[in-house]
Assembly symmetry: C2
Homo-oligomer: 477 residues x 2
Amino acid sequence: MANEMGITVKKEENMPEWYSQVVVKSELADYSVVRGCAVIRPLGYSLWQSIVDYFNQRLNKLNVQNAYFPLFIPESFFHREAQHVEGFAPEVAWISTKSDNEERLAIRPTSETIMYDSYSKWIRSHRDLPLRINQWANIVRWEISDVKIFLRSREFLWQEGHCVYSTEKECEKETKMMLKEYAKMSEELLAIPAITGIKSKKETFPGAIRTYTFESFMPDGKALQSGTSHNLGQGFAKAFNISFHGEDGEEHTPWQSSWGFSTRLLGALVMVHGDDKGLVLPPKMAPIKAVIVPIAQDKSPEVMKKAKEIHKKLKKFNAHLDDRADKSPGFKFNEWELKGVPLRIELGPKDLEKQSCVVVSRFNGQKEIVPLNDLVAFVDKKLKQIQKEMLEKARKKVEERKTKATTYDELKNAIEEKKLVLAHHCGNKECEEQIKTDTGGATTRCRPTGEDKPEPNSKCVCCGEKAKYKIYFAKNY
Amino acid sequence: MANEMGITVKKEENMPEWYSQVVVKSELADYSVVRGCAVIRPLGYSLWQSIVDYFNQRLNKLNVQNAYFPLFIPESFFHREAQHVEGFAPEVAWISTKSDNEERLAIRPTSETIMYDSYSKWIRSHRDLPLRINQWANIVRWEISDVKIFLRSREFLWQEGHCVYSTEKECEKETKMMLKEYAKMSEELLAIPAITGIKSKKETFPGAIRTYTFESFMPDGKALQSGTSHNLGQGFAKAFNISFHGEDGEEHTPWQSSWGFSTRLLGALVMVHGDDKGLVLPPKMAPIKAVIVPIAQDKSPEVMKKAKEIHKKLKKFNAHLDDRADKSPGFKFNEWELKGVPLRIELGPKDLEKQSCVVVSRFNGQKEIVPLNDLVAFVDKKLKQIQKEMLEKARKKVEERKTKATTYDELKNAIEEKKLVLAHHCGNKECEEQIKTDTGGATTRCRPTGEDKPEPNSKCVCCGEKAKYKIYFAKNY
């Protein structure tokens, strides 16, 4: 039983074990008896809820509406789009319970097919477009049996947006817009720098003509694909008979996009910000933004009285007053550090004499003495500052890991050194495969937005053929 | 293709067909190609979201935390609680995809077993109790193949709360409290009268010692079980080895409750309030609370200008300005009536001359001329009034359908007349079965709260044995 409270390994020394301990001991999530599945505990779910709430507000602004489609997908639907079936076949779980004459049903690994069947009924005229629908749902991909909570599991939660447009231009424009939304959310809410760009052909979503991605870079030198936005072209529309009556009186095939992110973001959150004491939550994500720990509470009724007063005043930060009589202040400090609460407010008899308290920032350990009268304004300002500094700190770490490789040896060495490596590439799938083999697992992550144009006369870092673009390489989750 | 806009049958004449037309044509939901499943469209999902938002606020107040558990349940888990397996066996869908040595997995028909396995790990001490967790999830029950959207389908959305307590008293108290919460939500938010009480032994949840229910009564004379709260006793705790170290230093078995409601509530909403023109939404549920329809908009730029002004002023009611140039006001009236928007605001050149507008209430058709300067205050007041009157109207209808039966013939006749019938009963399962057969389907609904005490020396309405309680009978969904 790993029931001791503190984290017993260092993040730098054994990140997989550190990650697992932080997730479980902070009570973010837990392993489940069901192979490949995890339980999202209340702390973890509240973080997911923060993301859901933030994103629902954005969706509302962007005229995207939420809906819900069936969990089950008829087998024949997968076969309608050739690349789609090939991409997803190994990952699909099937239902054995069925009546005679009923087609075999899969549990959704993604919902393009089941949604577009409905779309073909709903879309008649150009007036029905653009159609912008999002779904919050659970998703099952069966290939995984060794669960890594949030990062790799047979079931996870996600959102998937599915839009339909009259024109290619509008489709491409909004496909890119959604990627920008994702990057904005990652940086503003999660304080995680987003590396955005286009996927190589090899890494493009099965059935899409172009996949935009935002990647996060983890402290162990691996990239995490954190959200993708696909321009699906007209392939699915043709496969599912979606057409619309245009203003010109003719029938047309529309253009489609789909885009999604998942509970995987919580894995990135833990890895990017966490430290040897446990979780570190950005203030905007934290369900409890400050915890008040009274010192010598049993000996000083004045301290308890003032702590309760402070608690009331800090209500809008969802502050928590930890007045447990059977735990020492030290125990409480450790526990709330483990759970990543952004601010700890200590109040003892000596502080009270001076009409002040001690405020400790979780993310950098900074201690500040704050007059009680200034506390509300201080907390407000401090939380904003922390949110900003956490992103800056994370960004600095990523920038330090970015490098460029002009020769194949440079590329291999840089991967060895756990860098995020920008290099010229020919765009060839087999060549990507070769690099993966030679580097022990590095894959192309993305052609970075605005920086992917090849230098004149440049050659592929691996095969020496004419370079098509510059692209990031890294190992990945 | 049932693509014509209006509802073509009357609610009183053919309620099943009316229901199906309202649900589909108002774009609340749609049938799916997957047998037994439905698609919840944006309007339907926004109603569900209203319920989710309302209830999450209540959960927060009641110290219940949201979490998420796996979709899959190992077969052996069902067998641990004998009544539970018997109750759910016919409804379970199984996964065929599995590795060697892996146990067969079901898709959750309810989550007691999978959650309590985790609970047994998390609960150690009396300090861990009460544990109050809720899950928003999709649920699969396979027996159904003839879908009735929201009311009966293979997949639906719900919440399930699962709490653990140190004492029987606390458990029973909170089991009843949750039923009160449900009734409050039904009446305050959905404007649907809740008939609350205890289920008979026969209708008790498999594995529970006592089931509390709130039933809604539909205009076609059928009851709808709309939410239940179960006192699970100690059975599951024993089956899943949940125990806690008490203050007395001894190990104890805790008490448990579970409680849930589902998207079924949306079916009740349609049936209780809808009319021959379509949906009628209570203001608190409606995503759009008022629609503004300009009259002669193409001829009068002043009308359009003022309509936009009004639109801005009514932003907090999420008002919608229907300024489509290619649709007539009459077409728009019909469409928004079909979609159940509580208030319609008509503004034409003549209204503008008088600096007023016409406000029409969807639920009773009342037209009122309102000075433009008073509009915001009027809308605010009117919406509150409508919310109240919709509940009163619905309550009156239910009260008219309530009756009592002292003889078996009276009971049978009253069921024939589509009444909700209170009668004495012996509590015997076989006797309930007999009544169901003799009445063509009537079942016990609940022993009404505070009114179930039998009269002195009263006999069972069917078998003539000593009566145990008074209980409602009705046919049901």
